[in-house]
Amino acid sequence: MGGQDEQLTRHSVTELGDGSVRLTLAGELDLSVTDHLRSALQQTVGSVTGTLEVDVAELRFADSSAIALWVSWSQIVPRLEIRNAPPMILRVIQAMGLTKTLNPS
């Protein structure tokens, strides 16, 4: 399972077993793609019964709509963890007081 939502944004999904899923996002994630990404991953996110790991190591840019998307996922899945967040994204998560919601590392 995988796809190309927009030229600048790519994502891939890996089942980790025990209901956990690793979602890898790459490229740039802003308002122009978040709506599309939200509907494209609705089923995947809805099926998670463990932890949703969002790997953003390859993400060059994420704006507030991307943060909003992750926050909305965090309310669907039992636990959401933002993995490998670049300092820039980490700083935004921290500035928005979302460290406990998005569990970045």
């Binding site: 060059r60 507030s64 700083r91 007081g97």
Partner: protein, 529 residues
């Protein structure tokens, strides 16, 4: 019709003028070339006629010499003349010897048919007289004339070199019909020829013609050349163009090509003008639609922002909203300034994620809810209530909100942040962010709490609350943007509005598409007031 379509007519007129000009020049060139070729051919034909003269001259000069030597001995002269007269191969129908000065006595010797004697203008005698008369002082003289006989004849007269002796006259029969058909294989098959004796093309003096109808039709060339003491007039016209068909047809070729080019150019011009005007119309329509939509977005945004700010003694207030890069989308940023009581002022700056009508309407509802809730509760109490409403959460949106509750009397402020960037305090040439505990943005969790931090207001301080559009740039850490803003705020001067404009100009990215809201408050120094 638009004026610009007149260019089509201009193109047509120019095309017609140029085409007809070229066609006329070409026609003139073809015609003068044809005339030149005709003249050359007529000279050529005339030279063919004159080249036959020596053959005619020889028997006559021989006969004169013999008459002079023998004293016009009839037997000897006749014997000589017989070879030229009356035989199938001979040239002459008759030959006669006359004594100069005694023309009235008739010919001394006659060989062949008798000469045309009558003294009419068309007879032999006037021709002989002319030869006799002109004999003096000249060695040789040949006179030719066309005899006015039943059978057309041409007469040749040869006078001896010595005056007062003998003249020889010979007559040559011409075909009964002047018309001669030229075989198509002939070198002259492409021209019509008419040859006349004399200096003019007179029908009665026509020698020969290759057409029945005279004068020759169409363009013709005339050459007059000496023919003995007389002249030969040769007129020719062309049956087919001598220069070939191309020069003849060239004016038509030019006219047709020119007409086609003119039509093509005018059609092209029409299409260009039509296409251009259509594109202009479309562009104008697009501009109008864009301006309309942009206008709608702007109006909506303006309607959602506070109209008149409260007037409060001791503080100046200013708000600024910038839509970012040109676009028709409305944004989700806002600011608000609420006079809650005579001593309490609430500054609110917020940012609903996303853009467009959805963000703007969400922003409007959150703003309205705060306006209402702030009348009842302090920010740390109404923010959890707002978050619990859940309308944002259901749409996958969230809002960051910064509330600064100012106690005007105590000159203190309580800062509460729901996921929002900290306010910037500027005083005494320094600027610092008022770091507080950052709570969850609105719309993340219904169960959340907020902590407010209290700060004293220094004299003459300015406080700026802003949204992330002011500091966020692609490929740059948030802290870099915050530091740029801090430095811009330290450098800013003038009144509150001017400072905010400078901050916006220097802190924000030049191509930022994000919208930006800034709310500013300035405590006026008591000494300055």
């Amino acid at each position: 019709m638009r004026w610009s379509y007149r260019w089509v007519w201009v193109v047509i007129v120019i095309g017609v003028l140029v085409t007809s000009g070229l066609a006329l020049v070409s026609a003139h060139l073809a015609s003068s070339n044809e005339q030149h070729l005709l003249t050359l051919r007529s000279k050529e034909v005339a030279s063919v006629f004159t080249s036959a003269l020596p053959d005619t001259e020889t028997p006559l000069s021989g006969a004169v010499a013999l008459a002079d030597i023998t004293g016009a001995d009839p037997a000897k002269v006749s014997q000589f003349a017989d070879t030229y007269v009356g035989t199938p191969k001979s040239e002459f129908t008759s030959m006669s010897v006359w004594r100069a000065g005694h023309l009235n006595q008739g010919p001394v010797i006659v060989v062949g048919t008798p000469p045309e004697l009558p003294e009419t203008p068309g007879g032999v005698i006037p021709i002989l007289r002319a030869a006799e008369h002109r004999n003096s002082g000249q060695n040789l003289l040949r006179v030719f004339g066309l005899l006015d006989a039943q059978q057309r004849r041409i007469a040749y007269v040869y006078a001896g070199s010595k005056p007062g002796r003998f003249l020889v006259e010979a007559e040559q029969a011409l075909p009964a019909a002047t018309y001669t058909h030229l075989p198509s294989s002939s070198a002259y098959s492409n021209i019509n020829v008419a040859a006349y004796i004399g200096h003019q093309a007179v029908r009665s003096r026509l020698l020969i013609s290759t057409v029945k109808q005279l004068p020759l039709p169409g363009p013709h060339a005339t050459t007059v050349i000496p023919f003995g003491s007389n002249a030969l007039t040769v007129v020719i016209s062309a049956r087919q163009p001598l220069g070939g068909a191309l020069p003849e047809d060239m004016p038509w070729v030019i006219a047709i090509i020119g007409a086609l080019l003119t039509i093509g150019a005018s059609v092209l011009t029409f299409r260009l003008i039509w296409g251009g005007s259509r594109a202009q119309t479309l562009a104008a329509e697009n501009r109008r639609l864009y301006a309309e939509q942009h206008g709608i977005a702007q109006s909506l945004q303006q309607a959602l922002l506070p109209g008149e700010l409260p007037k409060i003694e001791g503080v100046r207030l200013a708000g600024l909203y910038d839509a970012g890069a040109p676009g028709i989308d409305v944004g989700g940023d806002w600011y608000d300034m609420l006079r809650l009581s005579p001593r309490r002022l609430l500054l609110v700056v917020g940012d609903v994620s996303g853009r467009g009508i959805r963000a703007a309407t969400a922003m409007a509802s959150v703003r309205s809810a705060i306006q209402y809730a702030a009348q009842v509760d302090p920010p740390e109490d109404f923010l959890p209530t707002l978050s619990a409403l859940g309308s944002l959460r259901e749409q996958g949106q969230l809002a960051t909100v910064l509330c600064v509750l100012i106690d005007l009397q105590e000159r203190r402020m309580e800062v509460t942040s729901a996921g929002h960037l900290p306010p910037l305090l500027v005083h005494d040439g320094t600027a610092e962010f008022l770091e507080t505990e950052v709570g969850l943005p609105i719309g993340v969790d219904s169960d959340c709490s907020y902590v407010s931090s209290s700060f004293a207001v220094p004299d003459g301080a300015c406080l700026f609350c802003f949204t992330d559009g002011l500091v966020e740039r692609h490929g740059e850490s948030l802290d870099e943007g915050l530091e740029r803003l801090r430095q811009a705020a330290v450098r800013a001067s003038g009144d509150l509005e001017q400072m905010m404009a400078q901050i916006l100009e220097h802190a924000r990215g030049p191509e930022s598409a994000d919208d930006t809201a800034i709310a500013g408050v300035q405590w006026v120094d008591k000494t300055n007031n």
